[in-house]
């Protein structure tokens, strides 16, 4: 049985890198979307306050809500990152599984 642990670890690492590279765009896109809608939301809030459509009390309450929206966004990004991590870890284990199966046949 031929089993070079260093080679296996290198292959596992490459599998993880490849998986992360594919999923990274999802993380970036999600974060960018949140930032874009946040910008639009705060611009709207400021504009409504400036033209007197909303009073100061309403304005302050929504500013406080923005912190809670950020909390929700961070939980969402955490999920996106966990999917990335899960995929990377399972890609690495798949490599290990295949290497061992091959080594046993030889």
């Amino acid at each position: 049985m031929n089993f070079d642990i260093n080679e296996v670890l290198a292959d596992m690492l490459n599998a993880m890198k490849g998986s992360i590279k594919d999923d990274w765009n999802v993380v970036k896109k999600s974060a960018n979307n949140f930032i874009q809608t946040k910008k639009e939301r705060l611009e709207l809030l400021a504009q409504m306050r400036l033209i007197g459509a909303i009073d100061n009390d309403f304005f302050e309450k929504r500013l406080a809500d923005e912190k809670e929206i950020l909390t929700a966004e961070l939980h969402s990004i955490a999920i996106v990152n966990k999917v990335l991590a899960q995929n990377a870890a399972n890609a690495a284990f798949k490599v290990l599984e295949n290497v061992i199966a091959t080594a046993l046949i030889i």
Partner: protein
């Protein structure tokens, strides 16, 4: 002896690698994603329909049944999250959505009617809570098994 150890170790590693599967998030649910999309639409429609009315008619009572319907659907989403494994982040997001939806409902009740600016801001902010929830559920589609 050496061969026996090698065979044993190999079998152990095979069984270990075949049953190890990292799981950090729940499986994707098309039903939940659909319910999120439909309830967000219902929530936004509640406000958009208010805009169609003259301000003096935009009372809480005129849409109280719609508020209840949206609230019921949000509760359903939260309930499904609470019974799913690895759902801590989803439960927290759903609770934030619910708390703020109820807050906005209460403010409407207290204010009697809403003007155009207030409605526009409510739409933007409640969607601020819907967006992370939908993003997270959609992200589960990227799980590679």
């Amino acid at each position: 002896m050496k061969t026996k150890i090698l065979v044993f170790t190999s079998c152990f590693l095979i069984s270990l690698s075949s049953c190890i599967s990292v799981r950090l998030v729940p499986d994707y649910s098309e039903a939940i994603e659909t319910q999120i999309i439909e309830t967000q639409k219902q929530n936004e429609k509640l406000y958009i329909e208010l805009l169609e009315q003259p301000q003096e008619k935009r009372t809480y009572n005129s849409v109280s049944d719609k508020y209840l319907e949206v609230e019921s659907n949000i509760n359903s989403i939260l309930f499904q999250y609470q019974t799913r494994e690895k759902n801590e982040d989803f439960v927290k997001m759903a609770k934030l959505l619910k708390d703020n939806f109820l807050q906005y409902k209460k403010e409407h009740k207290d204010k009697k009617t809403l003007n155009d600016g207030e409605i526009a801001v409510y739409i933007a902010f409640i969607n601020g809570f819907w967006q992370p929830l939908l993003t997270a559920e959609k992200a589960l589609k990227n799980i590679k098994n």
